[in-house]
Symmetry: C2
Subunit: 105 residues, 2 copies
DNA sequence: ACGATTTATCGTATATTTACGATGAACGAT
DNA sequence: ATCGTTCATCGTAAATATACGATAAATCGT
């Protein structure tokens, strides 16, 4: 795009769009599910179960971390990722609010 | 990307990611709100209230239509867009389900 | 039929996303 | 101190997204 017009919207709209963007790839949806289902949340475990290279998984984790949906905790040479339940709740509430608002035409 | 790996995920994950993608731009968030708030849902009315050119708004509408969140109804030379409440409810339920599933690590 | 109005589509430029191999940085173990 | 393990980052290539002006298509009114 020539220039982004995103800054012309409200902070709430920009933030919500950003959260949606972080959920806009099936790998990231799956990662969020896996972080909850698996005992271990090391990056290697995720890479093993995803059809993606380690570098790519790391990029997806970075995107989820960017919007705060997950946190990474250093554990020796490994890193344990986990869902940030607070951020998750905030996102859920905002999306619920949006969906409730837009009912019908 | 060299090649998309999206087809390696479940249909549910792909679809949910697609819905999230359609919500991943503030203009599209705003359009959904406006379609509900405004009496008229003609494209021209949307263009008037958005900081974007007509062609760009049309593109955003196309994206929302692609995933089924809105429908367009021909009304003479104009087109009246409205939210598809059924698709909206489906999206809301799927997102709720996802958010409820992923609690904590 | 003609002109005005409304919206979609085309063409295009630039930015961002997705993907991977290679490399680097941090740590534990020997 | 060195080696293997783990993960992030860099560099890069290709796909997709965003934005706009210009143009086409459809419709209504005259």
């Amino acid at each position: 795009m020539a220039v982004s017009k995103k800054e012309e919207f409200t902070q709430e709209e920009i933030w919500l769009a950003d959260v949606a963007k972080s959920l806009s790839h099936p790998a990231r949806i799956k990662i969020l599910k896996m972080l909850n289902e698996m005992n271990s949340c090391m990056v290697g475990s995720l890479v093993d179960k995803l059809p993606l290279a380690q570098a790519t998984v790391s990029q997806h984790l970075k995107e989820l971390k960017r919007v705060g949906l997950i946190d990474g905790e250093i554990d020796g040479p490994k890193i344990c990722y986990c869902v940030n339940t607070k951020a998750l709740a905030k996102a859920k509430n905002a999306l619920d609010k949006l969906f409730n608002k837009i009912g019908c035409c």
